[in-house]
Amino acid sequence: MANIVLDNVDKYYGDLHAIDHLQLQIRDREFFVILGASGAGKTTTLKMMAGVEPVDSGSIFMDGQDVTRWPPERREVAMVFESYALYGHLSVYKNMAFPLLAGRRKRLTASEVEQKVRRVAQLLGIDMLLQRRPAELSGGQRQRVALGRALVREPAAFLMDEPLSHLDAKIHHQMRSELRQLRECMGSTIVYVTHDYGEALALGDRIAILHEGKIMQVGTPGEVFHHPATRLVAESLGDPPMNVLPGRICCQDGRTFVEIQGQPLRVSGAVEGPSAATPPRQVDVGIRAQHIRATQAPSSRPFHLPGQVYVHEVLGDEGLLTVTVGPQHVMVLTSPEERFTPDERVYLSWEAEAMHLFCGQTGKNLQSHSV
């Protein structure tokens, strides 16, 4: 039940500017995901919200109140740590009851505590584990206990740091759906940190993409996936990641073309910048693997990029073809039945609409989208 605002927050580790003028507005009851590679500053951001890492400059507001200097115990937040951070010397029950007994403000009777713990344990399916020690649990069970310890409280916000990252694929998927269901009954603001774009897209109401301490883009899953603001955003979403090829953009007869390895392709829609007056300039052309067609014979279409097969991987449902184009590898999704042999010549083509254009220098998306 809180909105969280980060206003110009900075954090340094020695000389490293870990968080750089961070501006975030997280709405009340929102499932907000912070996505970034390791070292991007996601966990630091979360820990600053929790109050366990001090802020170097800037302010954090919760429900309009400046909580920047508040100690963690005073902020009404619950946090799930990546390492789970369970109390090794306490049983599962005591771990989960800990937040209820540790706070000084609310006094709960023993039976109230027990009732709350049992209810959450049942919800998470760990009620038969309450007497065990964390060391006796599997990874998935520990993860549930960590989640349960956060859920027994009714905090203003849940902060979750990569809660699924240590689980194997099968449990990961299951927990992801369970989290999505839980989210509906929690009714609190959730800030969720992950490096997995799939988790981010699947869970988030909105996603912030963080890179080297800076926000690249904030938007709904659809926005960030289909209309990435920068090349970095585009590359961090999708598996395989978006292919990026160097090209040149130029105008002819009032129409805009992009030239890749000498092959022109007409650009649909408006592009920022180029006009007949400006000279051709460097752009990065982004194209997702599933939008590329690979054919053994040159197509009749005007645009096809020649390349050589590096490897072709058959993945059951689909095939993944890696093609050497100039100095680069381009990934293409194929049907599993198609056959390619190493070093074979192939031609790549795609629709102009599927293409993203990024500025060669700044990486900014050059196409304006109506969102």
Partner: protein
Amino acid sequence: MKDGTGKLRSAVRVVGLGLYFAFAMAPIVWILMMSFKNPGDVIATPPKFIFSPTLDNYKAITVGLESYSSESLRPDFPKYFLNTLIIASATVAVSLVLGTFAAYSLARFSFPMKEDIAFTFLSFRFAPELMVILPLYVIFQKCHLIDSFAGLTLAYQLVTLPFLIWVLRGFFEEIPKEIEQAARVDGCTWWGVFCRISLPLVKPGIAAVVILSFIFAWNNFIFAMILGGERTQPITLGILGFIGYERVLWGQMAAATIICAVPELVLAFVIQKYIIRGLTFGAVKG
């Protein structure tokens, strides 16, 4: 794939280990035997390997034995034992109270000069004792602390405190920071976290350093020799007293040796897992 060289190797291993452990255990066995010999057998030439065992030596140093010299009627040994127990316990208690907080702050907080302070603690481990004891002797004389339990307890901090701080710091550092942060988020103040999370989690570490500090204090000799006296004489000095100028009580010395070593060995076996870690100031986890 066991071939000729493999067999040769295991033969070498058996012989080598046999020799080493014979070397390591023989003195202890010999002293154990000696402690059960009567005075005649002790000084027999050549040494006796077969004799009729007696408990006289143990009786002489604990409750006194008439057939021995008059002094042994009221043996001092129990007093030495008690002295050692008092000094070692008091030393460990003081070190624990002082050291736990210092170790925690060195492990958890970052502050200027931290590593210098830590190294200063460590460097006392590598200083020759007399460098401190001799001037301390002068100071103690002035303050009338010579031959007092308080004085010895204070001086013994030099033996136990650096050790305790340094090793306990390692144990505290092993607690993931996130566990403490989780407890903060769950509503504890830092003091609450320290008492309810950190201390319980390093319990085994505390047990280990307490026992090892106790052993170090128990084993100490030089501090007590110079700063102690008649009243506070510990066991290590007492044993030396069996070898006097006019006579040498080998048998009683052997019995005293065994009595002195047994509590230590028992304690040492209890914390066997942490021995290496303690002896190397935490440098080797064992």
